[in-house]
């Protein structure tokens, strides 16, 4: 259930970021030929800012939708959301008297909405990404596997000529993802990166050659 919620979040973030990235690109194409104002924080043209943010949003969206590492997905979403928050703080500190909506006029015109509506939509998306990202990151941290670190003195395998990794397959018959983990994870629980099934990493015993 928890895995499904996280998956829903990363997928929804991917969809939203994909939509935002595409919308920013479309806004630039729709306003081709027009000179855009410079944003007051980074002092770059809004056109260039749209290209940069749009490209980043698309990359993060692709990782969210097609990547395998849940930690990476959540971290990237959070990184993006924090950057957006930092930008907003910077804009506020720079004295953005007239609000940010004017800078979104090309985006708003491309999609037939008001600049204020465009700003509101982006605010909702960034807030969702920030809050949910923080929540899931904390949740993941709290629910990390709690198995004790294997004692090196009682380890079940020999100290010399050791294999460094363990390969096994997901027990979910519909998945059967090949998984490679560090040897130190033997006996501990992990999550299939593909389907999210909780798995027990198999243990191995070795006999010292005599």
């Amino acid at each position: 259930m928890q895995t499904k919620t996280i998956r829903f979040f990363t997928n929804s973030a991917g969809v939203l970021l994909l939509a935002v990235g595409l919308a920013l690109f479309m806004a630039n194409w729709a306003s081709a030929g027009l000179t855009q104002p410079h944003d007051p924080v980074l002092r770059v043209s809004m056109r260039n800012l749209f290209w940069i943010v749009g490209a980043i949003a698309l990359v993060v969206a692709m990782i969210c939708l097609f990547g395998e590492r849940v930690w990476l997905k959540i971290t990237l979403i959070l990184w993006l959301a924090v950057n957006l928050l930092a930008y907003q703080i910077g804009f506020f500190l720079k004295g953005g008297h007239a609000g940010f909506s004017v800078y979104l006029s090309s985006l708003a015109e491309a999609f037939g909405i008001s600049s204020i509506a465009a700003e509101l939509i982006l605010q909702i998306i960034s807030t969702y990404l920030l809050l949910a990202g923080c929540g899931f990151l904390v949740f993941k941290w709290l629910n990390r596997p709690k198995t004790t670190r294997p004692n090196t003195t009682t380890r079940p395998y020999p100290a010399t000529s050791l294999p460094m990794t363990v390969k096994f397959s997901c027990i979910n018959p519909a998945c059967q993802q090949h998984i490679v983990v560090d040897l130190s994870w033997c006996g501990r629980q992990t999550q299939c990166p593909a389907c999210g099934t909780i798995l027990q990493v198999p243990t191995f015993t070795f006999q010292n050659p005599k």
Partner: protein
């Protein structure tokens, strides 16, 4: 493993991605199809904006049978040769728009026997920064074929044919060179007078004139200088101290200089003998040949006089006539050219693109020698202007023109764009996009009365708002170049009247602090020194301090004046987009 991965992607997330793509693109398509109400607005704008405008002056030969003219091409400006008899137009050379202003590009006139004509072009080789090697190209007067290419000094401004086989030219630094055709047909330099008069030419009026086979005269500011090649004597024969020398001609028959001067009370004429002594001075022009254009209640009327003792012929031209200022030739008033039995001018007829016209004074038939468009306007319905007369607050009377939208529904309100005289296809464009376009018809931009721009526009505004079809909440001001400073003044005085402003290559930008959320459209060339910084700063300030989104179009490679069809088309499309969005 890869197969599994691909299967998974295609079955789940790829579908999601496609869905998002479809949603975003679908939304955009929906906006495009629903928001722009005038059908084919972009095609209309492209069609109207593709007009190739005529630039600078045109040079007919004495008989008016051939003409050399300058017209925009897709990427720049070309010099064309047209033989009216064979109806063939030939492109002689072309200059790209980018870097145009740093190059000399001009037509240098016909030889006395009309067998040759010349034009100057810069070569690619750069001598010093901003200074290119130039070349005079001499062409056959019947076919337009190149007859000779002669190297010229940088800064060449004017040429004067001394005889059918020799000419002199003058540079901006007042170097005078004389070239003569040798018996074998090749050309050689005969005289060279570097910096014959100290200082540079203060005006680039085309005044360099042949006064005999061995002498020339030219205007330098308010002075007239002569140079005799046989004695190498160079002297100043006239200097205006209390008035402005506007130009002069020289009559070889009477051996008199005819000067046109102006002061605060108007124009006056001075006749000089070759030594510079005043023979006559009068306030009444005594031209024997002229073509004078007058605006009579919004209608263009030519008064043409070809003989000293005849009455002028009145010719009504139903379209617009472009204002040309150029050499004072055979004589002209307001730059309209009389050659032989023909009057040459550029202008249009209602609903037709601008063209180079030749009016036959004898039979009254006008003929378009070159058109600004190869095909009629696309999706265009002809809108004839309604003309009238207004009296402004200063008590001046003048004509005005109003073009209404192509389709006006009773009870529906339409936006209005209001301006003083502008040239270009704006009337057609605005009418197509559902706007009223009202224009005060001040004849010439360099007229001192141009300073009455705000009074003129306000007088017309008062008339226009009485029209029940005009949406008084959507009245836009329109101004180009130096007129934008008057627009700024009017906006500062009455900010509540205007919904926005359209500024073309503005010299000044409006003050926005007291203007509530205006819609501003600005188009300018990005090659103008300081222009990009000035306008982007204005845009940034408007956005940051007032939250006003200024539509700014900075065209790369373009100077203050646009000089290509591509630039004009891009401008027109952006303006049309602004119009349909507002």
């Amino acid at each position: 493993m890869i197969n599994n991965y691909l299967k998974r992607v295609v079955s789940s997330h790829m579908g999601l991605v496609l869905m998002v793509f479809s949603f975003v693109i679908g939304w955009r398509v929906l906006v495009i199809t629903c928001s722009h109400t005038p059908p084919h607005w972009r095609a209309t704008a492209k069609g109207i904006g593709s007009t190739a405008w005529f630039r600078d002056d045109f040079y007919p030969n004495k008989d008016g049978t051939c003409v050399v003219f300058s017209q925009e091409t897709e990427k720049g400006v070309g010099i064309f040769f047209c033989n009216a008899g064979s109806e063939k137009t030939k492109l002689l050379c072309e200059q790209k728009e980018n870097g145009y202003s740093r190059q000399r590009f001009g037509m240098l006139g016909w030889s006395p026997d009309d067998k040759l004509f010349a034009y100057a072009v810069p070569l690619d080789r750069q001598l010093n920064p901003g200074q290119r090697e130039e070349q005079i190209v001499v062409c056959d007067g019947l076919s337009g074929e190149t007859a000779a290419k002669i190297p010229a000094e940088p800064g060449l401004t004017q040429i004067a044919w001394l005889s059918p086989q020799s000419f002199a030219y003058l540079t901006y630094n007042q170097d005078v060179r004389v070239w003569r055709q040798k018996t074998g047909g090749s050309w050689a330099q005969l005289y060279n007078y570097p910096n014959i008069v100290s200082g540079k030419l203060e005006t680039i009026e085309n005044s360099f004139t042949t006064t005999s086979k061995n002498s020339v005269a030219w205007q330098k500011g308010n002075e007239i200088w002569t140079l005799d090649f046989s004695t190498s004597a160079c002297k100043k024969i006239w200097e205006s101290t209390t008035n402005q020398l506007e130009g002069f001609t020289y009559s070889k028959e009477t051996r008199e200089y005819h000067l046109i001067c102006s002061d605060e009370t108007g124009w006056f004429f001075v006749d000089l003998d070759p030594q510079g002594s005043v023979l006559d001075m009068t306030r009444n022009g005594k031209q024997e040949r002229y073509a004078y254009l007058r605006d009579e209640a919004g209608t263009n009327v030519f008064y043409i006089k070809t003989k000293a003792d005849s009455q002028p012929t009145r010719v009504v031209w139903p379209g617009a006539v472009e204002d040309h200022r150029g050499p004072i030739g055979d004589y002209i008033s307001n730059g309209k050219y009389l050659y032989g039995d023909y009057l040459f001018f550029t202008g249009d007829l209602p609903g037709r693109p601008v063209g180079l016209w030749r009016y036959n004074i004898r039979n009254g038939i006008s003929r378009c020698l070159a058109s600004g468009l190869k095909h009629p306007f696309a999706y265009d319905r002809i809108v004839l202007p309604q003309n009238g007369v207004i009296t402004n607050a200063l008590g001046e009377q003048m004509s005005y023109h109003v073009w209404e939208p192509v389709k006006v529904d009773a009870g529906k309100k339409y936006p209005l764009v209001i301006t003083q005289t502008t040239y270009g296809p704006n009337n057609l464009l605005l009418a197509q996009e559902g706007y009223y376009f009202a224009m005060v018809a001040r004849p010439y931009w360099n007229d001192k009365t141009v300073y009455n721009w705000p009074a003129d526009v306000m007088a017309l505004y008062e008339i226009m708002i009485k029209n029940p079809n005009i949406d008084t909440n959507r009245v836009f001001l329109f101004a180009t170049s130096m007129d934008t400073s008057f627009l700024r003044q009017l906006v500062s005085e009455k900010p509540d009247l205007w919904r926005g402003a359209i500024l073309i290559t503005p010299e000044a930008v409006p003050k926005l602090s007291s203007w509530h959320n205006p819609k501003i459209f600005i188009v300018a060339g990005a090659n103008q020194a300081g222009e990009v910084d000035r306008l982007t700063k204005f845009q940034d300030t408007a956005a940051a301090d007032l939250g006003i989104p200024v539509k700014l179009v900075l065209q790369k490679g373009v100077e203050h004046i646009s000089r290509s069809v591509a630039t004009e088309r891009a401008r027109t499309v952006q303006l049309a987009k602004f119009l349909v969005e507002n």
